[in-house]
Amino acid sequence: MKPVGIITRRELASYFATPVAYVFIIIFLVFTGLCTFYLGGLFERRQADLLPLFKFLPWMYLFLVPAVSMRLWAEEHKTGSIELLLTQPITTWQAVLGKFFAAWIFVGIALALTFPTWITVNYLGDPDNGAAFAGYVGAFIMAGAFLAVGSCMSALTNNQVIAFVLAFVTCALATLAGYSLVTDWSRAFFGGIASWSFWGEGLRAGIQSLGNLLTDGIAGLSFLTHFENIMKGVLDLRDILYFALVIIFFLLASTVLLDARKSK
């Protein structure tokens, strides 16, 4: 698996060879800062934890992570460098992994640079640093899921704008599926159907529970649902497994898509 490391190193260096990396990191930090201190009310809450930071991360990722992932494959196809890369003695899977890890480390660096918030909280109070650490680990793993989706969308097209929009929409669906607005609406919707008068009494209860099951199922597939436990500092193996499966699935899909383009 040595080629993976070689590709990761090259990719990571190329992020910092252009202003893109610095622009991204600065914008990420400015926005997370604004969200944490103004929207999240870090000071006003008078609680020493990082919840105001983590709460807004999925929404921050939604806009910024597709901006990182859009170039992964679309740019290689555009410049033709993909032909150079894939005719080296490596497999497509190694190339997919190498590029994914570089993007993941890059977003990880941006995430780590929010450490002043952690210092602030520690200065002002006595937070549960274990929970803070768990939150950071979870936030990093969730970034991987967003990136894997983005990698897959970038493998679909030569156009970075299209790659961005596709990744944004897919991630938005995956995030929103667990948002209370959606789950409440879904429950109300099925409740409404169940209340129609022509169902028998037994059927009504069945429809109601089927609706709840569907709502929970959709919410269970959501990034948000799985991150909500993590950001409170609860690192549940099931949540980590969920994100790991999302990552593996979308990276495999990227590989399949790239290989399929060869025989187009």
């Binding site: 090259r10 033709g80 150079l84 080296q88 497999t91």
Partner: protein, 236 residues
Amino acid sequence: MIKTQNLTKNYQGLLAVDNLSFSAEPGEVLGFLGPNGAGKTTTMRMIAGFVAPTSGSASICGHDVATEPLAAKTVLGYLPEGAPTYGEMTVAGFLDFIANLRALTGENRKSRLDYVIGRLQLEPVLQQTIDTLSKGFKRRVGLAQAIVHDPKVLILDEPTDGLDPMQKHEVRTLIGEIAREKTIVISTHILEEVDAVCTRAIIIAHGRLVADDTPSGLKSRAPSGRLEDVFRSVAA
């Protein structure tokens, strides 16, 4: 050596390469000629494993490109059309990256890198990013990448495109120099190049093989004895 058998590529109804079978042996420099759009690049991409054939097969040194891609790619040096590289990298950084992927180590790595840098006169631009280089330098960086691991088989898609006459001469001399124990295929539409470097030439038109001969054999086919006339008559 390179061998293709009934290689065919059909791009959604457009037959780019049609039942192409040929082989090239070590010591040969095979010129791959044909008008634009004849299927030269598609054929080379299929041999390099970047494009999957619709039917037929290609092998490099006995390794089938479809079933043993890694073994085939390991012995191959390939210059893709347009010599793509990573523009934001420096020349030194880029060659280092390729040497890593080619698993070159120790003394051999250093001597191979020194050789390609010297032979393709890349010293003055080693620390420059590739984006800032002239077309001629970019092409030579692409060539350096293709030969750095001393491959047994070389496939070069228009290696002298964009070079000035001096650089063209240099590259042809280089190809002649390394040709002895290697199998080399170069595509070109510059006919003088065939005379200058090739031991054999094949002409394809509309994806089909229309001539396969030595340069002098080809020339004798036209009353005028000029390669250009042969090319025009068979490629039409």
